[in-house]
């Protein structure tokens, strides 16, 4: 207790600095469940009406919220699974196997990672158009996964690099194939990395806006981020309470994931076997 009191000046300053953020979050939550008079910010009634978008029938020309949520879920999950699977194998090869051009491959990964998505968008559009995946969820998933891969591979390579050679040597000497060694001995060692990467790519997919907005404008492939922009753009009837309610709905899975997995997420910055 006394220890805390010694730091009270710092705590006070930090509190003041973070106050705007805290107030913002507080009102985000309060406003979604209450109504208030036009000239006041103090709520006067508790209501769940702002969440009626969840059960009311969608307005003409607007996508159904559950369809949109399902799309977002499929989008984020598939992206995460693809990124993890490909990163797991590619990173292993890059970390352990000596193949021609390995150096350039590694260099290429870094360069790809440095490219902002928006600079590639026209080229991506043309490719999707040619292979006929424009305006489909599958197309957007492929693009998102491809763009996430450099990061994933790089992170996973870091984890593999930290696994001692001796473990593999022992496995090989006992007669296990290279695949068995990877599957049974190495993968368990990098499990924290896989887990963290899975969550990170899921969250990245969950919040992606630009790709679905540009590459899949149809109602069938809408995701929550594009759904929200359309809400705020309504210029004759801007409903901030509705916007905040959809925002809450959109953020809930993210908050839940952070609360449950926060320790595991930190692994991505540590990495590898400990001790």
């Amino acid at each position: 207790m006394s220890h805390n009191f010694r730091h009270w000046p710092i705590i006070t300053i930090l509190t003041i600095v973070s106050l705007p953020l805290i107030i913002m979050f507080a009102f985000q939550i309060i406003d979604t469940f209450t109504t208030h008079p036009i000239d006041s910010m103090i709520p006067n009634k508790v209501t769940f009406e702002q969440f009626s978008f969840l059960w009311d029938e969608a307005e003409t020309g607007r996508a159904n919220i559950w369809q949109v949520t399902l799309n977002t879920f499929i989008f984020a999950t598939t992206t995460a699974v693809v990124v993890c699977t490909v990163s797991m194998t590619t990173a292993y090869a890059l970390s352990r196997l000596n193949f021609p051009g390995r150096r350039y491959f590694l260099g290429g990964l870094i360069i790809l990672h440095a490219f902002p998505t928006v600079t590639l968008i026209i080229a991506i559009f043309l490719i999707l158009q040619i292979i006929g995946l424009y305006d489909t969820l599958l197309g957007v998933i492929m693009v998102k996964a491809a763009l996430e891969l450099p990061f994933g591979i790089w992170i996973m390579k870091g984890f593999y690099d930290n696994v001692p050679w001796e473990i593999e040597m022992a496995g090989v000497q006992d007669g296990a194939s290279r695949f068995t060694v990877w599957w049974k001995l190495v993968l368990p060692q990098v499990q924290p990395g896989i887990f963290a990467l899975m969550i990170f790519s899921f969250l990245s997919g969950w919040s992606e806006f630009l790709l679905p907005q540009v590459l899949a404008p149809g109602n069938d492939a809408q995701v929550l981020s594009t759904y929200m922009t359309a809400l705020i753009a309504d210029d004759t009837k801007i409903d901030f309470a509705l916007f905040k309610a959809v925002g809450m709905f959109y953020a809930l899975p993210v908050i839940a994931i952070y609360l449950i997995f926060q320790k595991k997420l930190m692994n991505i910055y540590g990495g590898g076997t400990k001790g």
């Binding site: 996508a63 999707l128 424009y134 305006d135 594009t226 753009a233 210029d235 009837k237």
Partner: protein, 451 residues
């Protein structure tokens, strides 16, 4: 074009004859995308669905089974996202069958091959197209070809807050006579400056709230250019026109308004909801807007006595060179280029049916827009709506439109940039015009006439 058109009609006719003899089920999906549409604009899409229902029933009587599924979308973020989506989808060969969009898109989209002329599929001299106002129909054409059908009409009036006007000395009869005086050119923008200043000086409205223009670029500002005798397009050559005198006068009007303290120097960029709240409840003496504002003022902004509190007229003339005017910026239905002619043909027929006065009236009244056909005045829903009928009568006959010119977007953008620079005091109107002229010359070259 003509022969192709005849050929297509012949094919169509034979197809219909054939289809009556051999009955077969046909399933087709028609996608409708509506740009810049809110919940109240739902009939832009729903009308097509109603039309599909009617067309299927008509075909069923003829012994054909035609099942039409309509897919509707209006959520695009904004106009630019909508246009981007249509452009990319058209490039990818996945364009929606029908788009409801600004008539200004006809020029670029027809040049790019995204849309097909509706005149290839519909008889323009037959009902209900022969009942559509000629000036509206003309707005949906480009280069002598009828590309689209008007979806709605609107116009952009000048508004007065009655209470403020009466406090600065106008009697009720004066206020009632204002629209006529504006139309006759007896009440001009010079009077606006004087009256708005009076309202500010007397403390009836705050400083900067005497005249409250639109806070972002839009077709509205071209009206003030017309008020000072400006011309947008040369009727003989179709080239765009920069009338330097008119443009300078128009910029000067806004500069004077800022100098007189009736318009805020930092007005541009005022938040949209703030803007509506200000004008709808008497915080502002005079402003200009659109006919669809009626829905917002009386709806969300809670003005329960529109006609008792607000007077509306054409945009007043600026000087003797110009006259009172208003610009209509109708949306149009366009059909996009599809792989099969059949999809285009059905889309055209759906638009045709959706343009029936009774169906179009649903959109007009629900969204506070104006009708497209003359017969709508005989539909009770329309004629009993005071706003629709008065606005149609007072404004629509005097409405002009912005030209369907490939480069009009650049022209409008340059006009706005010059206005913005003068308004905020970055440049004098003369300096701004010089820059506008140089920029337009560079972009438009031969396509610009400078007066």
């Amino acid at each position: 074009m003509m022969t192709i058109s005849i050929l297509k009609k012949a094919l169509l006719a034979s197809a219909i004859v054939l289809s009556t003899t051999a009955a077969y089920a046909e399933d087709i999906t028609i996608t409708v995308w509506a740009g810049g549409s809110n919940a109240s604009d739902s009939y832009r899409m729903d009308a097509i669905e109603m039309a599909a229902d009617i067309l299927s029933k008509e075909q069923a009587i003829l012994g054909n089974e035609l099942n039409i599924t309509i897919e509707k979308k209006r959520d695009f973020g904004g106009w630019s996202e909508f246009k981007q989506a249509v452009t990319l989808a058209a490039e990818a060969g996945k364009a929606p069958n029908i788009v409801a969009t600004s008539h200004l898109d006809i020029a670029p989209w027809s040049e790019a091959g995204y849309i097909v002329p509706i005149e290839d599929y519909l008889d323009l001299d037959a009902w209900p197209i022969n009942n559509i106002y000629d000036n509206l129909l003309k707005i949906a054409s480009f280069d002598g070809v009828q590309w689209g059908i008007p979806q709605d009409a609107e116009s952009r009036p000048f508004f007065f807050w009655k209470e403020t006007m009466s406090k600065i000395g106008y009697s009720d009869a004066d206020i009632e006579a204002l629209p006529a005086k504006v139309q006759a050119g007896e009440y001009t923008l010079a009077n606006v400056l004087v009256d708005a200043k009076k309202a500010v000086d007397m403390g009836l409205v705050e400083k900067g709230y005497g005249f409250y223009p639109r806070a972002s670029n839009g077709p509205d500002f071209a009206q003030f250019y017309l008020s000072y005798g400006g011309v947008l397009q040369d009727p003989a050559t179709g080239k765009l026109v920069l009338d330097k005198k008119a443009m300078t006068d128009m910029y000067q009007f806004f500069v004077d308004a800022v100098a007189a303290g009736i318009t805020r120097k930092n007005h541009i960029g005022t938040d949209g909801s703030q803007w509506y709240a200000d004008v709808a409840n008497g915080k502002v003496a005079m402003w200009h807007g659109g006919t669809w504002h009626y829905g917002r003022y009386t709806g969300k902004e809670g003005n329960n006595d529109f006609f008792g509190t607000i007077q509306f007229s054409l945009i007043p003339a600026g000087n003797e060179a110009g006259k009172a005017n208003t610009i209509t910026h109708p949306l149009v239905y366009l059909i996009t280029n599809q792989e099969t002619d059949r999809a285009e043909e059905i889309a055209a027929q759906l638009i045709n049916i959706a343009s029936e006065p009774r169906i179009n009236t649903l959109h007009a009244i629900k969204s506070s827009h104006l009708g497209i056909t003359k017969q709508q005045s005989n539909i009770e829903l329309y004629s009993s709506n005071r706003w629709a009928s008065e606005a149609t009568e007072r404004l629509l006959p005097h409405a002009s439109s912005q030209p369907n010119h490939l480069q009009y977007g650049a022209f409008s953008e340059a006009l706005w940039k010059g206005l913005e620079a003068s308004w905020t005091g970055v440049q004098t109107p003369a300096e701004a015009i010089k820059e506008v002229e140089a920029e337009l010359k560079a972009i438009l070259g031969d396509e610009l006439i400078i007066r």
